[in-house]
C-alpha cells in the first residue's frame, strides 16, 4: 500500500465510509434524543420561549464574569482552540473547495500562510487543553477515556494537516493521505464521543434558553 494507493483510498471509499458513519451516527443520536420527548411547560409564561432559546444560544458563547475570573486561562484557551479550528477548517482555500462541492456555494478564504500559522496555534492550544485537563483536579476527576479519545482524534487532523502543508515528515502524498485518514477517524469516532457536542450544544442551549425565556429568567 504505497502513498498513492493510500491517498486514493482515503479520497475514495475511505472518505465515503467515514462520512456515512458520521452523518448516519449523528442523525441516530439526534433521533434517540428527540424520541424521549419534552413535555410542554404549563406554567403561566412571562416571556417568549423561542426568544429565550435564541438569546441563550448566543449568551453562552461568552463566559460569565464570576466563572471567568476563576479560570481565565482555561476559558481563553477554549476560545483559541475553537476559533482556530474553525478558521483552519472553513477559511482555507482547499477546504472551501470541498464545502463548495456539496453546498453549491463557496466563500473567500484566508492566505494559506495565515492558515498555517493559525493551525500551529490551534495545535498548541489543544495541547495546552490536555495539560489543563491533566492538572486541574476537577477535570481530571470527571474525565473519562472518551475525553482523551476525542482530544486525540481532534488533534490528529490538525497535526497531519500542518505537516502536510509544510511538506514535513514524509512525501506530500503520504502526509495528505494520513491527513485525510485522520479526518476520517474523527468523523467515524465523533458520533460516539463527546464530539456530538458540535451539534447537541445548540439543542442544550435551546432547551434551557426556551424555558428561561418563557419564564422571563436570565439565562
Amino acid at each position: 500500500m504505497d502513498a498513492n494507493e493510500l491517498l486514493a483510498w482515503a479520497r475514495g471509499s475511505g472518505f465515503d465510509i467515514a462520512l456515512t458513519i458520521f452523518v448516519a451516527g449523528m442523525l441516530l443520536r439526534l433521533l434517540e434524543v428527540l424520541a424521549l420527548g419534552n413535555k410542554p411547560d404549563l406554567s403561566a409564561p412571562r416571556g417568549s420561549g423561542p426568544k429565550g432559546g435564541v438569546q441563550t444560544l448566543l449568551s453562552r458563547n461568552l463566559p460569565r464574569k464570576a466563572v471567568f475570573d476563576r479560570e481565565p486561562l482555561r476559558i481563553i484557551n477554549g476560545y483559541v482552540l475553537h476559533i482556530g479550528f474553525f478558521i483552519v477548517l472553513f477559511l482555507y482555500g482547499p477546504h472551501i473547495v470541498l464545502f463548495e462541492s456539496f453546498l453549491g456555494f463557496g466563500w473567500p478564504g484566508l492566505p494559506s500562510g495565515v492558515i498555517d500559522a493559525v493551525g500551529a496555534i490551534t495545535i498548541l492550544s489543544l495541547i495546552a487543553a490536555l495539560v489543563f485537563r491533566l492538572n486541574n483536579k476537577v477535570i481530571r476527576f470527571i474525565s473519562t477515556k472518551d475525553d482523551y479519545v476525542a482530544w486525540a482524534v481532534t488533534l490528529l487532523p490538525l497535526l497531519t494537516g500542518y505537516l502536510t502543508y509544510n511538506h514535513l515528515v514524509a512525501s506530500y502524498t503520504m502526509m495528505l493521505a494520513l491527513h485525510l485518514l485522520s479526518v476520517e477517524l474523527l468523523l467515524v469516532v465523533a458520533p460516539f464521543t463527546k464530539l456530538t457536542h458540535m451539534f447537541s450544544f445548540a439543542m442544550a442551549r435551546w432547551y434551557q434558553g426556551y424555558q428561561a425565556g418563557r419564564r422571563g429568567v436570565e439565562s
Binding site: R29, V33, P63, R64, V67, R205, Y207, G209
Partner: protein, 425 residues
C-alpha cells in the same frame, strides 16, 4: 405501595430522562466550569461536588437505556451499572451537596441545565429509599399535618389574633372573592411572624382584598425538595383547589425560595393543567403596589445594608429588579455585594439542605462563600426575601461570630409605610 428499591429508583430515573436531559448528556464536554460556579466545590475544594458529577448515575442509565452505542457497550460489559452502592455513594452529593441553586446551569458553556437534572435524579433516589431522614420527616408532616414543621391552623389563628390585637387590622380567613390569596411558609409562621403583620399592614394601605385559606395556608412544598413529584403534586393541589374555591385572582408566594418554584413553575405541570389564577412572589406584588402608588413609604433606613438574592427567587424566579426598586426607596445606603443579581451565590441551605441534619457541617462550609461576599462589603444589615435563607444566614453568621442582623424585605418595607392613623382595638 411497595417498599423502596434500587429497581424502583432506576425506573423512576428512566422515566425522568427526557429529550433535554439526553441532549445535555450528549453535549457535556467535561470542561469542569460548572464546578467553578458551585459553592460546594469552591468552598470544599472536593472535585466530587462538581455538579455534572452529581448526575453521573442518571448519565449511566441514559447511556445504557437510551442509546444504541450505550447498549452495545453495556452488552460488552464496558460500562458501569447503577446499583445500591451507586445510590449510597451519590446520596450525599445529590441531597447534602446541592441546594438546587441553579448557578451551574447558568455558566455551562453548552447550556446544560444541571440543577434541573439534579431535581430529576432525586426522583430516583427517593424512590430507591435514599432520601435524607430530615426530608422524609418534613414530607410526612407536610402531607399528614399540612406543614413540614407541624404547624396547624390553630397556631395560625392564634398568630392572627395576636396580629389583630397589635395592629387592629383584620386578617380574613377563607374570604371568597378576595383578590389575593396569601400563602405563608412554616418558617414564617413559627420564627418570623412579623411577615404576616407586614402583609396585613401593606394590604390595608393598598386597599386590596386578601385572604388566607384555612385548608391551604402552607406555601412550602417538601415534595420539590425531596424530589417526589407525586408528593409535590398532592401539596400544591391543596393551594390550587383553595385558590379555585375562593375564586382569587392572584396567589402570593411568600418570602420562601422553593415555595415560589413549586407554586409558580412546577405546580401547573404537576397537576397537568394551567391555573385559573395568577401567581406572584410577594416582592413582585410590593413592587407593583409601589409603582401604582398604592402604598407609600416615608423615611429611609440609613444603616449600610445589602441584599442577598435567594436563588429560587432571583436566578430561578426572575425576581431581581423588584427588590432593588423597593430597597432604593427605603434605604439610603444600599450597596450591592459582588455577583449580586441572578449570579448571586447561594446561602447554602436551600433545596432541602437545611432540613437535612447530616448536611449541617457541609452547609456551614458552603456558607464561607457568602461570608466572603459579606466581609468584602462590611455592611450593618443584611436584607433577604426567604425565611430559610434568613435562618441559614443567621446560623452562618453566628458560627463565624459576625454580628449582622438579618431582616426580611417585606417586614422592613412595612416598617417604613406611611403611618396612617391606626385605629386601636
Amino acid at each position: 405501595m411497595s417498599a423502596p428499591s434500587v429497581e424502583k429508583g432506576i425506573q423512576a430515573i428512566k422515566g425522568q430522562i427526557d429529550a433535554p436531559v439526553a441532549s445535555f448528556f450528549s453535549a457535556c464536554v467535561h470542561c469542569g466550569l460548572c464546578a467553578e460556579a458551585c459553592l460546594f466545590y469552591t468552598e470544599t475544594g472536593d472535585p466530587k461536588y462538581t455538579p455534572i458529577n452529581k448526575v453521573e448515575p442518571m448519565r449511566r442509565i441514559w447511556e445504557r437505556e437510551y442509546t444504541l452505542f450505550g447498549k452495545a457497550k453495556a452488552a460488552l460489559g464496558l460500562s458501569k451499572e447503577v446499583d445500591a452502592d451507586t445510590f449510597a455513594e451519590w446520596e450525599t452529593l445529590v441531597y447534602d451537596g446541592c441546594t438546587l441553586c441553579g448557578r451551574c446551569s447558568l455558566v455551562c458553556p453548552v447550556g446544560n441545565d444541571i440543577s434541573g437534572m439534579i431535581r430529576k435524579i432525586r426522583e430516583g433516589f427517593a424512590a430507591a429509599g435514599y432520601a435524607p431522614e430530615g426530608l422524609i420527616g418534613a414530607s410526612t408532616r407536610a402531607v399528614e399535618i399540612g406543614s413540614p414543621m407541624g404547624v396547624k391552623l390553630p397556631a395560625v389563628q392564634a398568630q392572627i389574633k395576636h396580629l389583630q390585637k397589635n395592629t387592629g387590622l383584620d386578617v380574613p380567613i377563607d374570604a371568597k372573592g378576595a383578590e389575593y390569596l396569601v400563602l405563608l411558609s412554616s418558617m414564617e409562621i413559627m420564627n418570623f411572624p412579623e411577615y404576616l403583620e407586614a402583609i396585613a399592614r401593606i394590604m390595608h394601605q393598598a386597599g386590596k382584598s386578601w385572604t388566607i385559606a384555612s385548608k391551604a395556608f402552607e406555601a412550602t412544598n417538601s415534595g420539590i425538595q425531596i424530589g417526589v413529584s407525586d408528593i409535590a403534586k398532592l401539596l400544591v393541589s391543596r393551594v390550587v383547589d383553595a385558590a379555585d374555591e375562593l375564586g382569587v385572582k392572584t396567589v402570593i408566594s411568600p418570602e420562601c425560595g422553593h415555595a415560589f418554584t413549586a407554586i409558580r413553575w412546577d405546580g401547573a405541570n404537576l397537576i397537568g393543567r394551567p391555573y385559573g389564577f395568577e401567581v406572584k412572589h410577594i416582592l413582585e406584588v410590593l413592587d407593583e403596589f409601589v409603582k401604582k402608588g398604592l402604598i407609600k413609604t416615608e423615611g429611609m433606613e440609613d444603616a449600610k445594608l445589602t441584599y442577598h438574592d435567594p436563588c429560587q427567587i432571583a436566578r430561578k424566579g426572575g425576581v431581581v429588579e423588584q427588590p432593588r426598586n423597593l430597597l432604593n426607596r427605603i434605604a439610603s445606603n444600599f450597596v450591592e455585594m459582588e455577583d449580586a443579581g441572578e449570579m448571586n451565590w447561594c446561602c447554602g441551605g436551600g433545596g432541602g439542605v437545611s432540613a437535612n441534619e447530616r448536611a449541617d457541617e457541609l452547609k456551614l462550609t458552603a456558607f464561607n462563600r457568602k461570608k466572603a461576599q459579606l466581609e468584602a462589603l462590611g455592611v450593618d444589615t443584611l436584607v433577604t426575601a426567604c425565611a430559610n435563607c434568613r435562618l441559614t444566614l443567621e446560623e452562618g453568621l453566628e458560627e463565624n461570630n459576625m454580628d449582622i442582623p438579618i431582616v426580611g424585605l417585606t417586614e422592613m418595607l412595612a416598617e417604613y409605610l406611611v403611618e396612617d392613623d391606626k385605629e386601636q382595638a
